[in-house]
């Protein structure tokens, strides 16, 4: 039996269904991310787990106990908010000590545990300072210490890094990973940032318009998207639609524009309408034909050199726009807009997803 169990949860605000029949679970000590664009219902789901919203339907269980109707303050959950939500009228020490005070922990012990918690988030000696004097990154550490100091059963985080700048975000991400590993607390993390979700999580749950779209390890989500939404939302890819032909030689996607792309393994059956997601970094570009199976000719539109990688925006001979990413590419100078190029898709790396729109003819 899993530690946190969300079963068939639906949340309606007036006429709007923010969350539709979502079920998932988290094992003890597991780090689970809810990933999706804004408005996908991930924050609402988290708030229901915290007890800040009551589900319209469905149940939430923590540690085998049904907490659906329990108010937030009875749930023993630590939560980190997007904009820290520190109490501006209390010192850092009083902020971190607050959950302990609410639990009737006496002053001496409180002080000790607050010091330990601040030590853990690497902010020792800040106890008597006002949170408003701290930087954004430090404030978020205080918020984390406050959410963990009372050793809650579950840690919830709502886009905790989104208010920080890029460098800080990366540092905090590593810090978060370290702390979560250190104390091994069951964590549910909400984010719209794929990098955060993938680097931190054991398991990623992708939400789309209030519905659970796919869940799995970061690897599974990335390598094996099972819906059009996941294919498009995760990574940078070019989408081609067509129909699957399966015969003894293997599986081939015939695109609506007339291309024929060979695919390695696929469980799609003959004549299924399907979508191919061509991940930018899995494609390679060259000036001369290589003779590989899935080779497409194209014209370069723009070359964009980003340092660690270079993006080529091209147009296929059949008219589709396609993006290719090459890492550590140094002969950028050889490519310019208007050049004829050849793009290769390794057949084992062609991602095919059944087209849910049922392939009306283009």
């Amino acid at each position: 039996m899993s530690y946190v169990q969300i079963s068939g949860v639906t949340k309606t605000f007036g006429d709007v269904r923010a969350v539709k029949d979502v079920s998932f679970e988290a094992e003890r000590g597991e780090f689970v991310s809810l990933l999706g664009p804004s408005g996908c219902g991930k924050t609402t789901t988290l708030r229901m787990i915290a007890g800040l919203e009551t589900p319209t339907e469905g149940t939430i269980e923590i540690g085998g106990e049904d907490v659906t109707k329990q108010p937030a303050y009875e749930r023993d959950i630590g939560m980190v908010f997007q904009h820290y939500a520190l109490f501006p009228h209390k010192t850092v020490g009083e902020n971190v000590g607050f959950p302990l005070k609410m639990r009737g922990v006496d002053k001496a012990e409180r002080r000790e545990r607050v010091a330990d918690a601040l030590e853990m988030v690497r902010l020792p000696g800040t106890m008597d300072r006002s949170p408003t004097e701290l930087s954004g990154g430090q404030q978020q550490r205080v918020a984390l210490a406050r959410a963990l100091v009372f050793e809650p059963n579950v840690l919830l985080m709502d886009e905790p890094l989104s208010a920080l700048d890029r460098v800080l975000r990366q540092q905090m991400r590593i810090e978060l990973e370290r702390i979560q590993e250190e104390i091994g607390i069951t964590t549910i993390y909400v984010t719209h940032d794929q990098t955060e979700a993938f680097s931190l999580s054991d398991r990623v749950i992708v939400l789309d318009q209030g519905e659970l779209s796919q869940q799995g390890s970061p690897l599974e989500i990335y390598e094996n998207p099972q819906s059009e939404f996941v294919g498009e939302f995760i990574g940078q890819s070019t989408k081609l639609s067509g129909t699957v032909t399966a015969d003894d030689d293997g599986v081939t996607l015939r695109t609506d524009s007339g291309l024929s792309l060979e695919s390695g393994e696929s469980n799609l059956t003959h004549d299924t309408p399907a979508l191919a997601f061509l991940r930018a970094e899995k494609l390679s570009i060259s000036k001369t034909p290589t003779g590989a199976a899935n080779e497409l000719s194209a014209t370069v539109t723009t070359v964009s050199y980003l340092g660690e990688k270079t993006l080529f925006f091209c147009t296929l001979a059949t008219g589709e726009e396609i993006t290719v990413a090459e890492h550590g590419f140094t002969n950028v100078g050889e490519y310019g807009s208007g050049d004829e190029v050849f793009i290769t898709i390794p057949e084992e790396k062609l991602l095919l997803v059944e087209d849910a729109s049922n392939g009306e003819p283009a």
Binding site: K69, P71, K90, T91, E94, G97, K101, G104, R110, M127
Partner: protein
């Protein structure tokens, strides 16, 4: 507000005892707040947003119901009864009070009423217009100055506008008596420069200027707020496009301050029409306004039903004015806007 500074934060050994006491108080408070009686109430109403809303908002609305609406409704019913001997209220339905107030004829040629109440109501509205125009003329420029100035004294200057508002009205009007009276400061000052004068008190001018001074902050503050909100680059850009200062004021500043002006005008007009103290202290009997007439009918003549009828007619006029104003500016904007 004692915030729990003792908690885990500071080392404040000197207040250790006080800290302990507070700790104990806190413990007690926790016990109360966590008691079944308290949490039970929450459990029962959790998720019932409406119940909470009506309980909370109901505090103030309930208060108004008991101490404002019920009394106002009561004087409506009182206005249909009659004064008996010695001020006793005779509870018999009659329209006599309203007849007395309203039915006397109006002489359209001279626009005078042959009826005391209507004459005075009209006079109140007239004074209201005078005061509003006066306050607008006097208030706009200082409001503009306060909104545009960059001096470090701005906060202090603003405070000086607000300060008179805190001084009891009775003192503000008394100050005018002291200045304008027969043996007042103004007479004394004029005498010093060789001009003989007797007092200026107990005139229409005294009432209007006293009221104007008293209500001026209500005109200055909303206009100041709207001037303050104008992005100064708007005015700059008007100037770069060749507008003269006067032209750019007329084309840019003035239209943008109209919300503030209308809020100020509504407030000052409504407040001045209902004024009691200015005519009572600064005016002659001929400068009486509605509020004074109601007071004397109620307090001196002890004719509560008639005073009630007068009050009801005043309320009708007031709410009529408000509903007209409401078409242009929401009342909530007038009152709530200034403080945000």
């Amino acid at each position: 507000m004692s915030n729990e500074q003792e908690s885990t934060g500071g080392v404040r050994t000197s207040s250790a005892e006080g800290g302990e006491l507070r700790e104990r108080v806190f413990g007690l408070r926790t016990a109360v707040l966590r008691s079944d009686a308290v949490t039970g109430v929450f459990d029962r109403i959790t998720g019932r947003e409406r119940v909470f809303a009506s309980v909370q908002a109901g505090f103030g609305l309930g208060w108004m119901l008991v101490f404002l609406f019920a009394p106002l409704l009561y004087i409506v019913s009182l206005s249909f009864w009659q004064r008996g001997a010695g001020g006793v209220v005779v509870q018999e339905f009659t329209l006599a009070n309203y007849e007395y107030i309203l039915t006397e004829s109006v002489d359209l040629a001279s626009l005078t009423f042959k009826n005391l109440y209507l004459t005075i109501l009209f006079q109140s509205l007239k004074y209201g217009v005078f005061v509003t125009v006066g306050a607008l003329l006097l208030g706009y420029v200082p409001a503009y100055f306060l909104g545009r100035t960059v001096t470090k004294w701005k906060a202090a200057l603003l405070l000086l506008v607000v300060l008179p508002f805190w001084v009891p009205l009775i003192i503000r009007y008394y100050a005018w008596i002291l200045v304008l009276g027969n043996q007042g400061l103004l007479v004394s000052m004029l005498g010093w420069v060789g001009i003989e004068a007797s007092g200026f008190l107990y005139t229409e001018l005294a009432v209007v200027s006293g009221l104007t001074q008293a209500l001026l902050p209500f005109m200055i503050l909303p206009i100041y707020n709207s001037v303050n909100e104008i992005d100064s680059s708007l005015i700059e850009s008007a100037k770069t496009m060749g507008a003269t200062p006067l032209r750019s004021f007329y084309e840019v500043t003035l239209p943008l301050t109209l919300p503030g002006v209308s809020a100020g005008v509504i407030l000052v007009f409504i407040l001045s029409v209902g004024s009691y103290m200015a005519p009572a202290l600064l005016g002659a009997p001929s400068n009486t306004m509605v509020a004074n007439l109601i007071e004397s009918t109620f307090g001196q003549n002890l004719d509560w039903p008639l005073a009630s009828a007068m009050g009801v007619v005043y309320l009708f006029v007031l709410f009529g004015l408000i509903s007209v104003f409401n078409r242009f500016v929401g009342l909530d904007d007038v009152f709530g806007g200034g403080a945000e």
